[in-house]
Amino acid sequence: MTNLPLELINTCAALLLLLSFAMLSQRRVLTQVDLYAAQGLVLGVSILITAWNTHQPHLYYSAGLTLLLKVLVLPFILHRLIRRLDAIWETETLLNMPSVLLIGLLLVMFAFVLAQPISELATTLTRGTLGIALAVVMLAFLMMITRRKAVTQVVGFLAMENGLLFAAASTTYGMPMVVELGVGLDVLVGMFILGIFLFHIREQFESLDLSHLESLKED
């Protein structure tokens, strides 16, 4: 009677949402990278469960790619980057955390309402989680909007990609392999480019605070 795989996937989805909120409210840059790695882990596990439950071999590759890239490679690069940028102890001044969290909550509700009609059209086992995937994307957006530091914006960008992948996995059992590989490599390459950008930003302004970019003229 009880549907264990579905319950496990729902739990993973709930955990993803929780981790998104944890990232939204986290001040330390390094902890945020660790939270991102945890999110990748949960995402990989949920894809694994879907693969095991629906007997789709290509989802195993997708899960393997997710686990390799998002739990090991990207967090490693980010850790290195933060160490090289001397940003280990960098913290952000969050503007009014409770209200940011409340806005996040409203976004989650919006995403749920938005996803309701779409997920009714889908035929997959995991269609209910589309709302959560959309919410993860929107929360990552919100994180990029409310943050000032460049590194956290990069983490927000990566978290948004997590949400997209989860949406794909939950509605259509994953994208074709070519698309998935392409997106995975895109993220990796984007990470490198953003890393180079970060070094340039710091060289120019001697800080990673993006509010410096707002002034166009040199005083």
């Binding site: 009677m1 009880t2 264990l4 579905l6 319950e7 496990l8 729902n10 739990t11 989805a13 709930a14 955990l15 949402l17 929780l18 909120f21 409210s25 955390m97 409770p98 969290l101 409340l102 996040g104 909550l105 989650v108 509700m109 749920f112 996803a115 309701q116 209910g128 989680t129 709302g131 959560i132």
Partner: protein, 319 residues
């Protein structure tokens, strides 16, 4: 739910009196665990009782401008907490008094006791009293919605707002994994810490008036009044822990008091759960430092957020 028979009422009355009498023991156990975790030998399990007895033997000193309300409040506190204990399922789920009040009324009962405590704190007119009252109300008004959301989530799953029915549903049905309940559980734990003036929000052992929240409201009380207030605080902690156990760890609850084998299982189960929860709370308090008062809204906003997420996850995923 429970039918009102004489035996049921008598059994429930006995259980409530037992709860009132045993509540300081949980506080003693918590303090003992904390002492052990901090490499101290600890004051012993019975220290809250000794404290209460000592206070009962002293002469009460009351400010000359105190109104009758000030004398009344300790009794109101203890009475409302005892009333709450009567509608929380601790040992069995067919509670005869449960038809009188559901979980939402329970939140109201806690709010009422907080209101009276704040009024009493402002009654004398000292600076610290009204400071404590304001802070207490700040924490209370942020914790209350979170607590309500926790109750709503569990009510949605169990299709009832009555606490015994919810506990009964969870205890006697096949195990289902509810992510929404996990969210609600964490939110409830945060509310429990905030409402009972435990460490991340308030320090119950502080002597520094400027950082006090709950302690500042009872600074003016002495002797038997203070004893009653401390007793009701211990009972409040006991009540909160029992609500948490009934909602999130209801296994081992008996159905009715006239079922001896069920009771034989329920009593050791309750003691074990209380012991584990008490030591868990002590661990949380040891690992955390007290946060600044202005961080408390963030802490409670997180609790509200978690409870709300639980509710949303329940509504969307049906899990």
């Amino acid at each position: 739910m429970g039918t009102v028979t004489l035996t049921a009422v008598l059994a429930q009355g006995t259980a409530t009196v037992m709860a009132v009498l045993a509540a300081p023991l949980l506080l003693g156990w918590l303090n003992q665990c904390r002492a052990w975790l901090q490499n101290r030998s600890g004051p012993g399990l019975l220290q809250p009782y000794r404290q209460i007895r000592k206070l009962f033997h002293k002469d009460a000193v009351i400010a000359s401008n105190a109104s009758p309300l000030f004398r009344l409040v300790p009794y109101v506190e203890l009475a409302s907490m005892a009333l709450a204990a009567a509608i929380i399922p601790t040992l069995w789920t067919r509670l005869p008094f449960a038809i009188a009040a559901d979980s939402i009324a329970l939140v109201g009962l806690f709010a009422m006791s907080r209101l009276f405590l704040a009024l009493a704190a402002m009654d004398i007119g000292t600076a610290f009293g009204s400071l404590g009252a304001r802070r207490e109300m700040l924490v209370g008004f942020l914790a209350e919605p979170a607590l309500l959301m926790v109750f709503f989530t569990t009510s949605l799953i169990a299709h009832s707002t009555s606490l015994p029915t919810i506990a009964d549903g969870f205890a006697h049905q096949p195990f289902v994994l509810y992510p929404s309940l996990a969210f609600a559980c964490v939110a409830f734990l945060m509310v429990l810490l905030a409402e009972n003036a435990r460490i991340p929000v308030d320090n119950p052992t502080t002597h520094l008036e400027l950082t006090m929240i709950h302690e500042a409201t009872v600074l003016e009380y002495s002797a038997r009044h203070l004893a009653l207030i401390e007793w009701s605080a211990a009972l409040k902690l006991f009540n909160y822990v029992c609500i948490g156990l009934a909602l999130f760890l209801p296994w081992g609850l008996a159905e009715r008091p006239t079922d001896p084998t069920g009771l034989l299982l329920a009593v050791p189960a309750l003691l074990l759960k209380l012991a584990v929860t008490g030591s868990g709370l002590a661990l949380i308090e040891t690992l955390n430092a007290k946060m600044r008062i202005f961080r408390a809204p963030e802490f409670l906003a997180t609790a509200f957020l978690l409870a709300m997420l639980g509710l949303l996850v329940r509504l969307l995923l049906g899990s």
